[in-house]
């Protein structure tokens, strides 16, 4: 009951602080708009960039509509194939967000359950998990993601790899992010483990899994939420980087990173819009997620206020 009231209070406080923080509000609006644009891309996008019949190679390299030679049909221009850039960006954002969210979810579930169990059970299990985390930490995220992708290429036959690319990508990014969740969950569990409500639950004879999931988990969600938000930005960034390096999403379904990679081939010949607009979209999206993460962190950690 106490924990319940504490949560309500924090929620109110969060709302209060949110209403007094312009920057966070703008960031939230941008984040919601990106999610909206991504979710409804098939409905609101002018054309379907995956549909080969919907674009014409004759329309390729058209600059944005407000520039000379711009075509009013294509608000921010077209790419090398004649695809409408605005539609490509909407679909690309959709893919970036999808991969970002699912890999954070994967990392959160994996990391939190390992960390929670390590903190609650302790002993050898704890030591083992923490050693694995050490090894993981000695490999930077981008390297882990690249390695997982490389291994998947080696193991899976070529056609299957193409089909499973998104799954591979999600696992690759998720595996490089779980340590943060595990460490935080473990540290918070250590604190919670000795509290009276956990002891009460133990005396009542509840199953350890139930104690962890129902009693402890809700009380350690705060810091995990902060990590989730910050890691979402990291995941979107990683996905874009991998796609940019050409080891990410399938080429016929361009994500923002793929669009940027295609765009870089044309900056020397002056077609700046192909690279600038996807880059700006990516940056604005990551900045707003980072600002929201910063906001959550400040709200949940009174020392920073």
């Amino acid at each position: 009951m106490l924990a319940y009231w504490r949560r309500i209070k924090i929620e109110n406080e969060m709302l209060y602080l949110f209403l007094n923080n312009r920057v966070a509000q703008v960031a939230a609006v941008i984040a919601i708009l990106s999610v909206f644009g991504a979710l409804f891309a098939p409905i609101i996008a002018p054309t379907d960039p995956y549909d080969l019949a919907s674009f014409d190679i004759l329309d390729s390299f058209l600059p944005p509509a407000w520039v000379d030679q711009g075509d009013p049909r294509f608000l921010i221009g077209t790419d090398d194939q004649g695809r409408d850039l605005l539609s490509s960006i909407m679909y690309g954002t959709r893919l970036s967000l999808l991969v970002g969210l699912s890999s954070v979810a994967f990392a959160a579930v994996l990391g939190t359950s390992l960390g929670l169990a390590a903190g609650y059970i302790g002993g050898r299990f704890d030591a083992a998990v923490m050693r694995i985390a050490d090894v993981q930490l000695s490999l930077p995220a981008i390297l882990t993601a690249l390695l997982v992708d490389g291994v998947a290429r080696g193991i899976l036959p070529r056609e299957q790899h193409e089909d499973l690319l998104l799954v591979v990508l999600t696992v690759a990014i998720g595996l490089s992010l779980w340590v943060n969740f595990a460490r935080t969950a473990r540290a918070s569990t250590f604190v919670e483990r000795n509290k009276e409500y956990v002891q009460a639950a133990e005396i009542m004879g509840l199953h350890p899994v139930r104690i962890m999931a129902v009693a402890i988990l809700p009380n350690i969600l705060g810091p995990l939420m902060v990590i989730g938000t910050i890691d979402l930005a990291v995941a979107i960034l990683l996905e874009a980087t991998l796609s940019f390096l050409g080891v990410g999403v399938p080429p016929n379904q361009p994500s923002l990173g793929t669009l940027i990679r295609i765009g870089t081939e044309y900056i020397f010949s002056g077609e700046w819009w192909i690279v600038i607009f996807p880059s700006m979209t990516l940056i604005i999206m990551i900045v707003s997620v980072n600002i929201l993460g910063d906001f959550f962190r400040t709200v949940l950690n009174p020392r920073l206020r």
Binding site: R131, V135, A141, I142, I155, F244, I267, V275, I283, V287
Partner: protein
């Protein structure tokens, strides 16, 4: 002290063993080494003979031991793709990455630390706030986008700097260096900036928050109350105490720089280890991948070890806790 170092050493050896196990598994079980090495016409018997020769029929434990022994002796095997010895390939590429990383680290430290101190002391100034906003954006811009923007501005629009490759290099033994020619230095500017900006923002934010924490402690308040002038308080008392975590971060940053150089090298076609690794992933060149993995992990582990020992030397609090490690 000795006990602490030995404990950390054992831990490092453990991490390296785990990574080498990973690398071995990668090498041994991802794809069939024999199938990759021989052509399609090779008969089954010949393949089996090769398998026997390479020791692939031995128990896995024996194979792993041999793998580790070879790594320790510096025999890394051959690339599937180019048939060259991997050790040579990596050694050839290493100077490019190390020089790029070194310059980026210098940018990150010599700009990041002063900026961090400034923003910590001037909490509400216009300049401090704008620096903070710029760094928040800096954290959020992917490395490759920074690189592309720099190429567009300084390479395409202004035409001031080269955007491709290492430029002129001078060979000193096997080490090819960029530092001795103007062309080499010019080629280094854009990649190093690209790689340095992100690290710079990290350094700055860390120095700022550490410095702010120290400024809030009682001994600083007391020093100010005693009437010691602000300059002494800031630079003698506060700065010295906020530098301890910065040492850690410098170490970790170098690791991060080596990792992120993969991206930067790809943008600028900088012929370093990162580019080699990317190619090995693209062409599923497993031996190169696994050796690269081991070498990067080794660099990380050594850096972490050095940082921990430094920490131990600098910060007496770590020494006083027997379990601190």
């Amino acid at each position: 002290m000795a006990g602490f170092i030995i404990r950390r050493l054992i831990q490092s050896v453990f991490v390296m063993l785990a990574v080498s196990l990973l690398a071995f598994a990668l090498f041994r079980f991802v794809g069939d080494p024999v199938a990759v090495m021989v052509g399609q016409e090779t008969s089954i018997e010949d393949q089996d003979r090769l398998r026997e020769q390479l020791g692939l029929n031995d128990p896995v434990i024996t194979q792993y031991t041999r793998f580790v022994a070879n790594l320790v002796r510096g025999e890394f095997g051959f690339s599937f793709r180019t048939r060259q010895p991997i050790g040579e390939m990596i050694l050839q590429r290493m100077p490019a990455t190390l020089e790029l990383g070194f310059v980026s680290l210098m940018i990150s430290l010599f700009v990041g630390i002063p900026a961090g101190i400034y923003t910590a002391l001037r909490n509400d100034g216009v300049l401090a706030n704008s620096i903070l906003i710029v760094t928040l954006i800096g954290v959020s811009i992917p490395t490759f986008v920074i690189g592309i923007f720099l190429i567009y501005i300084f390479g395409v629009q202004l035409g001031w700097l080269p955007t491709f490759g290492r430029g002129d290099v001078v060979e000193i033994g096997w080490w090819k260096t960029n530092f001795l020619t103007l062309g080499g230095l010019r080629a280094l500017i854009l990649p190093a900036l690209t790689l340095g900006v992100y690290q710079l923002t990290l350094t700055m934010r860390l120095v700022r928050s550490e410095m702010q924490d120290v400024m809030n402690t009682d001994f600083i308040k007391f020093a100010i109350a005693r009437g010691i002038d602000y300059r002494t308080v800031h630079y003698r008392h506060a700065l010295r105490n906020s530098m301890v975590p910065v040492v850690t971060i410098i170490g970790l940053q170098f690791g991060g720089i080596i990792a992120f150089s993969i991206v930067t090298e790809s943008v600028f076609q900088w012929p370093g280890m990162g580019l080699l690794f990317l190619d090995s992933i693209r062409y599923v060149d497993i031996p190169v991948m696994s050796v690269y993995l081991v070498i990067i992990a080794l660099i990380f582990v050594v850096i972490n070890l050095v940082v921990d020992i430094l920490y131990f030397v600098i910060d007496p609090r770590v020494r006083l806790k027997p379990e601190g490690g």
